[in-house]
Structures are given as structure tokens and as C-alpha cells.
């Protein structure tokens, strides 16, 4: 009973060089086709979609091609009375989109264009007695929301408004036998969730609580023979998981535990050389989400044609510096 390794094969015809101009054109065009089927069907996550696209453009030094005023106006219209942001106008507020909104505002150095005090009020109202965070008033708890809350507050320099020690305790209660983290206490480790928890601990200066030997080993074992990384054992490789695993490794100082050249080759192979953009795997349909994480991954791997990315916030390092955020990575 042998276990076959799930993986992909990269064909010889797959792209081998970075097609920056195509990606910039792809993202720029994506936002302008507002009556497109895909565009309308993804309205429920518009704010995050904009964060992915705009950050990708900024990493490619082409943010000026996007319409800043239109973006800011849209964000303003998405803020609710409670302080939180919805994914789109008229959509309910949620921490996920509140973080995306604050990230975009920080990219544009325009935090003052919305009500910051209200954002703080919203986030603090969602922290629970056990330190966890609700995603919105309906009460779903998830370590993703712990990251959203802490990242958001760090970006607006208001971390001291929540109970950080309790927030840390909750995240630690989601730590597992493999050194990773899951959604809630008891949940299985998953690299997206690990990124959130490791990032959260990095922001609040508690990285020493991580078992880096154990977690680093589990993370570097995500690399498959194709070079791509999967999100959990026995799963297929994916560009977005490549980012989450890679950034987590970077934060805990173990980036060198994977084979960088092979991963670069995998990420490049996920580009679409006709339309621009990155897909989850070679030969699949592209989207802005994987395009951002493809570019961010290449940046962490040292591609100098892309701006240096911050592994915790997935935003350009220069933006994080401008926002005055200091973090000690391991």
C-alpha cells in the first residue's frame, strides 16, 4: 500500500522568465471590466480583491496606473457606522475586509481619509474573553481573525487598545503537535492558518513561543518534487500556499530550509503567458489572488525586479517602514 505523492508535472513549454508587463496589464485591465462575469461574481470579496490587485501593482512599481481617487472613495463608502468595512458597498462589515481596507489605505498613505477611531472601536468590540476575535457580530471565531485584528491595529498604530496577552494565549491554544496552527483550538494545522498565527505572533513580538524546529520542518516538508509547496501533507502544490509557507519560513528564519530555485521554477510556470497573471498551478486559470502571491513569493525568493515584500503584511517593505512598524523576525 504505497502512498503516491500528489504533485504536478511542469511541462517544458511553461514560462521560465518573469512576465512583469503582462501581469501589470492583466491587473490594470481586471479592475476596468466592471460588467465582466468574473468581476460581478466576486463582488462579495471586492475589498480583498482590490488589496490583491493594488499590492501586486505596487510590488511591480506600477501603482500609479490605478485610479487612487476612485479607490479611496469606494473604501469610504464601504465603512459602516460601527467602524468596520464591508467587501463592497452595502455589504456587511467584517474583519477580513476591514484589514483589506486598511492595507489599501496604508499603501496609498491615506489612512486619514476614513474614521480611524471607529475602526479601533470596531476591532476592540470583537475581542472575546478568551482573547479570540469574532470575524463580525455573528460570532464566528478563527485565528485568521486574530491576525486581521492585530495586523489592522498595527497598521494604524493602535495595538495597545486590545488585550494582547490574551490574544496571544488564544493563538497558542490553537498550536498543534506538528508545531503548526489551526482555525480554532483542536483544528488541524494548515499553512494559511500558520501564516496568520505566525504573523500575529511576529507583530506582537512573541515569536519565541513557536517551536521553530518542529514547525520549520513541517513547513519545509511542504515542498514537493515539482518545487511547489502544498498547504498540508498529501495535498497538491499551489502558488498561494507557496506564499503562506514561504512567508512563515521567512518569519521564523528558516527560508533556506527549502530549495529556492525549484520553487522559483514552479511559481514562474504558473504564469499565463497569453493573458498575464498567475494561476494556482501550471495550466490553470489565473486570478488576482494568485497573481499577488506569485509575485510576493518571488520577491521573498530574492527577485530584484519586484519590490521587497514584507512577509507579515504582504505589502511592500517600504510601505511598512513608512507606517513606522518595527518587527523583529527570527
Amino acid at each position: 500500500m504505497g502512498t503516491p505523492i500528489k504533485d504536478v508535472v511542469i511541462s517544458d513549454s511553461a514560462p521560465k522568465s518573469l512576465l512583469l508587463d503582462k501581469h501589470a496589464d492583466y491587473i490594470a485591465a481586471y479592475g476596468s471590466k466592471k460588467d465582466d462575469y468574473e468581476y460581478i461574481m466576486t463582488e462579495f470579496l471586492r475589498m480583498s480583491g482590490m488589496y490583491w490587485g493594488l499590492t501586486a501593482m505596487d510590488l511591480m512599481s506600477q501603482l500609479e496606473r490605478m485610479n487612487k481617487d476612485e479607490v479611496i472613495e469606494f473604501i469610504q463608502q464601504c465603512q459602516h457606522e460601527c467602524g468596520g468595512f464591508g467587501a463592497s458597498i452595502g455589504h456587511d462589515p467584517h474583519l477580513l475586509y476591514t484589514l483589506s481596507a486598511v492595507q489599501i489605505l496604508t499603501l496609498y498613505d491615506s489612512q486619514q481619509s476614513v474614521n480611524i477611531d471607529k475602526i479601533v472601536e470596531y476591532i476592540t468590540s470583537l475581542q472575546q474573553d478568551d482573547g479570540s476575535f469574532y470575524g463580525d457580530k455573528w460570532g464566528e471565531v478563527d485565528t485568521r481573525f486574530s491576525f486581521c485584528a492585530v495586523a489592522c491595529l498595527a497598521l494604524i498604530n493602535q495595538l495597545d487598545t486590545i488585550n494582547v496577552d490574551k490574544a496571544v494565549q488564544f493563538v497558542l491554544s490553537c498550536m498543534n503537535f506538528d508545531g503548526g496552527f489551526g482555525c480554532r483550538p483542536g483544528s488541524e494545522s494548515h499553512s494559511g492558518q500558520i501564516y496568520c498565527c505566525v504573523g500575529m505572533l511576529a507583530i506582537v513580538g512573541r515569536l519565541h513561543l513557536i517551536n521553530t524546529d518542529m514547525l520549520g520542518w513541517w513547513l519545509c516538508e511542504r515542498q514537493l518534487p515539482s518545487g511547489g509547496l502544498n498547504g498540508r501533507p498529501e495535498k497538491l502544490p499551489d502558488v498561494c500556499y507557496s506564499w503562506w509557507v514561504l512567508s512563515s519560513l521567512k518569519i521564523i528564519g528558516k527560508l533556506h530550509w527549502i530549495n529556492k530555485d525549484k520553487l522559483v521554477k514552479f511559481i514562474l510556470a504558473c504564469q499565463d503567458d497569453e493573458t498575464g497573471g498567475f494561476a494556482d498551478r501550471p495550466g490553470d486559470m489565473v486570478d488576482p489572488f494568485h497573481t499577488l502571491f506569485g509575485l510576493a513569493g518571488l520577491s521573498l525568493l530574492g527577485d530584484e525586479s519586484i519590490k521587497q515584500v514584507n512577509p507579515v503584511f504582504c505589502m511592500p517593505e517600504e510601505v511598512i517602514r513608512r507606517a513606522g512598524i518595527k518587527m523583529d523576525l527570527l
Binding site: 500500500m1 504505497g2 502512498t3 460588467d35 462575469y37 460581478i40 461574481m41 462579495f44 464591508g86 467587501a87 452595502g90 455589504h91 456587511d92 467584517h94 463580525d136 455573528w138 464566528e140 498543534n176 503537535f177 506538528d178 489551526g182 482555525c183 480554532r184 483542536g186 483544528s187 488541524e188 494545522s189 494548515h190 513580538g205 512573541r206 519565541h208 524546529d213 518542529m214 520549520g216 520542518w217 519545509c220 516538508e221 515542498q223 518534487p225 518545487g227 498540508r232 501533507p233 498529501e234 495535498k235 499551489d238 528558516k254 533556506h256 530550509w257 527549502i258 530549495n259 525549484k262 499565463d272 494561476a279 494556482d280 498551478r281 495550466g283 490553470d284 486559470m285 489572488f289 523583529d328
Partner: protein, 568 residues
């Protein structure tokens, strides 16, 4: 968008698809507009359920519409009789099940199901457990379903014992089931808790688990789930926070402590009282990197009252007492009139530093494990999991005795698992350094680890009291961790691949740095040395030396007297 293969289509097909999508969009947009309109008008009726249902069936992550549905259910519950509501709720559960069949990994659907089950009268939790069983049959790795199962188990008061049995059955069906192994790791400490054991589970149970997991990897040695689980079983217990070393230095008028775990010393979290000959001294604590309000294993105390608070030429006693924390009670150091430095190495009484003391029963089990996995190695000489597990077992049993074997197995891993070469190099370095430190007489204050192919420095905080450090001819590519060398006077790191000197700026007592034959490529890289009072620098054999101007070097490092053997 995940797993959607791009298909080549003709212009004709594309046009047909465009038309079809246009039609769909019209319906979709009309429906969403209507929903927003109805919600604005606070209409909580069957029609609203119907239209939101149509949208959510195709777009299950549209959270705003799930929220509207929640509002509808809350409103209806207030206005309809219970019998009628039970039927409506049942209908909702059916609807959700159909959504799960098309999209079993939707956060929105699972979350809404939790809400419905918690809101409806007389929820049938047993039936929910059956639903979990069903969806775990379709996909035994669906973590949404596992999480929902844990939610149901809590509500239905199902015992951890029953759940453990469930995982046993799942694993017997298919060893390659990471989710089930994971669940076991959560259940065992609940059922058989033992705070004193390494992983919080009673020893006899732990020993049984070794057997279970061994069955798994003997059946399928390529399946990583069991190997990860095995590594957990071998894990170390919690390390108690305490003081490793306490040192006072008259020259720098400092008290330095090195703790077994990073701690934060600050007025708001944990305070440490410092007493000189029984009298309290006011002062500040900073880390070796001059930081405050962070967690660190090295802290340095200086008096704010008196710059020379440790008196010269007389006997003295410096004592410290931790206030308001459960770690390290109190320690003290005596310094006599002739000493410039004195220390107290509390860790020397604490036994093994890098591994746990094993009981006879566990030692016996691990030894038998090692023997049988070595048999497996005979059959599977190229299996990396087998090799690495042998290393882990040897490390847990007796790293010193097995040092040579560990070296051989790690070298083999480096050749067969090309993606993770640096992981194995670092693990090898860890073994070497730990073995070295375990035997080191710290009071010599000398560390000498040359020609060992060390790729990274582990436990640098234990080097904090060392004066002379020689790490020449290794594979280090940075000085990461070197800021811990707070007492260092001489550092030799010739023949490595070091590119930057960043952390050296914190070494106030550094007098000599020999960094010949490394990768220092620019004058700017020398800047951190400008913050030290270094006298001698050996830089020969670095790219930067090719056309270096000694005056420029002197400008960057004003304290320098001797550069590459020349007086300056």
C-alpha cells in the same frame, strides 16, 4: 480560484459562453438587487429565503446573504409557532447539505450550519454526527468537516474516548490520514493526562502509541503522517523558565543574566530587584540588543543611581530576586576585591540541558524502536523518513554515544533529499553544538568549534559569558546570534561565508575580529564595527579587500589600531 484548468476554446465557443454568461448575469444581478431591497425593507419572509437560497447555492461565500438569512430565521422564530419553525429549520439543514455536496469546503456554509443548529429548537446532534461521518467518507481530510465534527461532539456530549476510537478506526482503514493522527494528538492528553510527561500523556499510553504508529509506518514507509506523529511522541517536555547564568563585571559595571527561556523584564510585566550587599539598587534592564519591552534570554542591568555601583577593590555580593513571576526565585554572585568578573552558573546543577531524562521503560521502548527501524532501514535504505527517524531516536536516547551514526545518517539525507539540504545541515550543526556545550566547562570562558562544517549557530544565548570564541572554517553565512556574545573580546570566524557584520555592533568589549576568507564585499558592511572599540581586524581574503583604502577603513572604525597585521 482553485483547480480550474484553462481550456483552449474557439472564438465560436467563446461567443456562446459569453452569451450564456450574459443571460446568467442578468438573472443574478436582478436577484441580488431584489435581496438588498427586501433586506432594506426588513422583509423576513419565505420569498427572501428562496432568492437568497438561489444565489447562495451558486455563490456560497456571499456572507452578507448568509447574514440576511440568519436575520430571517431569528425574526421568524419570534413570530411563528415552534412546530412550523422546526420544519423550516429542517428545510434549511437540507438546503445546507445540498450546498455542501457541491462545495464541501465553504466556510460560509459550515458556519451557517452551526448557527442553525444552535438556533433551532430540539436540534438532533446525533444526526449531525452522521452527516460528519458521511462527509469524512467523501474526503477524510476536509478540515471544515473535522472542525464541524468537534463542534457537534461538544454539543452532543460525546466522550473523547469515543472520538479516540473513531480515529483508531479511521487510521486502521487508511494509515495515510494526517487529520486523524492530528485528532489523536488532541484527544490523548484529554483522556490520559499527565503533566509530568514530555507530551502531557501517561507514559504507558505513550508506549502503546509507539506501537500503533510503528504499525503504520511499517505498512507504508512513504506516508509522512505517521512519521510526523512519531516525531511528536518523541518530543521534549516543557522547559522551565529559570536563570542559567548570572554574571557581574566591574569593568562595564553591569549585571548580566541569561535565562533558559526568553523573558520580558519591565515594570509592567516582570520586575527583578537587584541588591548590592543587601541594599536595593535602582537601575534599568535592557537586552543585549539594547531593547526594552521585548522577550529575550539575555538581560543586562545597569544602575541609574551610580555609574560605578559595583565598588572597586572590595568584596561584594550582588543578589537578584524576581518579583511577581513564577520563575527563578533568587540568585546571587560574590565578587572578591581582586576579581573584575564573577559569575554563578546555576544550570550546572540542572542535569541534561538539551534533552529529557528518560525513564527505564521509555528508554527500553525507544531502544526497541530504534532496533526495528534499523531493520526497516535495511529494506528501505533510501527512505528519508526512516533515516530521519533513526536520527531522532538516537538523539533522544544518547546523542553523544550515537554521534558518529547521526553524522552518517545525516550525510546520507543530504544526498538523497535535495530540497531540504539546509534543514539537514542545520540539524547536524545543532547536534554537534549541543554535544559540545553539554561537555563544556563554561568557567574557561572559551569556545572553540573550528573545522566542523557548522552551518548555523544554535543556542547563542549560552555564549553570553564567553570571552574567546573560535568558529573558524565552518559554513556560517551570517553572524546571526553573535549579538549574544556580550563578553567577547576575541572572535575568530576565518574561512566561513559571512556576508554581513550587523549584529557585531552590540559587542562593546570586542578587541579582535579575525574574519579572513569570508564574503564581506563592501566597506559599508564594516560599519557595525564602528560602534565597537575594536583594535585589531583581520579581513584578508574577502572580496572587499581587493582595492581597499586603509584610511577609509579607519574612518569607519576609528578605534582600529591594526588592520590585517599592519599598524595603523
Amino acid at each position: 480560484m482553485h483547480g480550474r484548468v484553462k481550456v483552449k476554446t474557439t472564438a465560436e465557443q467563446q461567443e456562446a459562453k459569453r452569451k450564456e454568461r450574459e443571460k446568467k448575469l442578468k438573472i443574478y444581478t436582478a436577484a441580488t438587487e431584489k435581496i438588498f431591497e427586501k433586506r432594506k425593507n426588513k422583509e423576513y419572509d419565505e420569498e427572501a429565503l428562496k432568492i437568497t437560497g438561489e444565489i447562495l447555492a451558486v455563490n456560497s461565500d456571499f456572507s452578507t446573504f448568509w447574514n440576511y438569512r440568519k436575520e430571517i430565521f431569528l425574526n421568524m422564530t419570534e413570530n411563528k409557532p415552534e412546530n412550523e419553525m422546526i420544519e423550516i429549520f429542517k428545510g434549511e439543514l437540507q438546503f445546507l447539505e445540498s450546498c455542501l455536496r457541491t462545495n464541501p469546503k465553504s466556510y460560509g456554509v459550515w458556519n451557517h450550519r452551526c448557527f442553525i443548529m444552535e438556533t433551532m429548537p430540539k436540534p438532533d446532534w446525533k444526526k449531525e454526527l452522521e452527516l460528519c461521518n458521511l462527509f469524512l467518507e467523501y474526503d477524510e481530510r476536509n478540515f471544515h468537516c473535522w472542525d464541524y465534527r468537534r463542534f457537534v461532539v461538544k454539543k452532543a456530549n460525546i466522550s473523547p474516548e469515543e472520538e479516540l476510537e473513531f480515529t483508531t478506526n479511521k487510521i486502521c482503514n487508511n494509515f495515510s490520514n494526517f487529520s486523524s493522527w492530528h485528532y489523536r494528538s488532541k484527544l490523548l492528553p484529554l483522556i490520559y493526562p499527565d503533566e509530568n510527561s514530555t507530551i502531557g500523556v501517561e507514559e504507558n499510553i505513550l508506549i502503546k502509541e509507539y506501537e500503533t504508529v510503528q504499525n503504520a509506518f511499517f505498512t507504508d514507509p512513504d506516508d509522512q503522517s505517521a512519521w510526523f506523529y512519531h516525531r511528536w511522541l518523541l518530543g521534549r517536555g516543557k522547559i522551565k523558565t529559570g536563570v542559567n547564568c548570572m554574571l557581574i563585571d566591574r569593568t562595564y559595571q553591569m549585571l548580566m543574566i541569561n535565562t533558559t527561556q526568553p523573558v520580558m523584564i519591565s515594570p509592567s510585566t516582570c520586575e527583578i530587584d537587584v541588591l548590592l550587599n543587601g541594599e536595593r539598587v535602582e537601575g534599568t534592564w535592557r537586552t543585549h540588543k539594547q531593547q526594552t519591552d521585548v522577550y529575550s534570554s539575555i538581560w543586562i542591568f545597569k544602575s541609574t543611581e551610580d555609574e560605578s555601583w559595583i565598588p572597586m577593590h572590595e568584596d561584594a555580593e550582588v543578589a537578584m530576586a524576581v518579583v511577581g513571576e513564577d520563575w527563578g526565585s533568587s540568585d546571587s554572585v560574590q565578587i572578591n576585591s581582586t576579581q573584575t568578573v564573577a559569575w554563578n552558573l546555576t544550570h550546572e546543577e540542572q542535569g541534561l540541558r538539551f534533552r529529557d531524562e528518560l525513564s527505564a521503560a521509555t528508554t527500553d521502548t525507544l531502544q526497541r524502536e530504534l532496533d526495528s527501524i534499523q531493520e526497516l532501514y535495511e529494506l528501505e535504505p533510501e527512505n528519508k523518513w526512516v533515516l530521519l527517524t533513526i536520527v531522532s531516536l538516537m538523539k533522544a536516547l544518547n546523542p553523544k554515544q550515537y554521534a558518529n551514526d547521526i553524522e552518517i545518517f545525516l550525510s546520507k539525507l543530504i544526498t538523497i533529499d535535495s530540497s531540504r539540504i539546509n534543514y539537514y545541515w542545520d540539524l547536524r550543526s545543532k547536534c554537534l553544538i549541543e554535544n559540545y556545550l553539554e561537555e563544556l566547562d563554561f568557567s574557561t570562558r572559551v569556545i572553540s568549534l573550528q573545522n566542523q562544517n557548522i552551518s548555523c549557530l544554535v543556542h547563542p544565548e549560552l555564549f553570553s559569558m564567553v570571552v574567546k570564541i573560535d568558529l573558524s572554517n565552518n559554513k556560517l553565512d551570517s553572524v546571526k546570534g553573535f549579538s549574544c556574545f556580550q563578553c567577547a573580546v576575541d572572535i575568530h570566524v576565518d574561512g566561513n561565508q559571512i556576508k554581513d557584520l550587523e549584529e557585531l555592533s552590540f559587542l562593546h568589549g570586542l578587541k579582535l575580529l579575525s574574519i579572513k576568507d569570508n564574503n564581506i564585499s563592501s566597506l559599508e558592511s564594516l560599519q557595525p564595527l564602528g560602534k565597537t572599540s575594536i583594535l585589531k581586524l583581520y579581513l584578508f581574503g574577502n572580496p572587499v579587500v581587493e582595492n581597499i583604502d586603509e584610511l577609509e577603513v579607519k574612518k569607519i572604525i576609528p578605534s582600529l589600531h591594526n588592520f590585517d597585521g599592519h599598524m595603523m
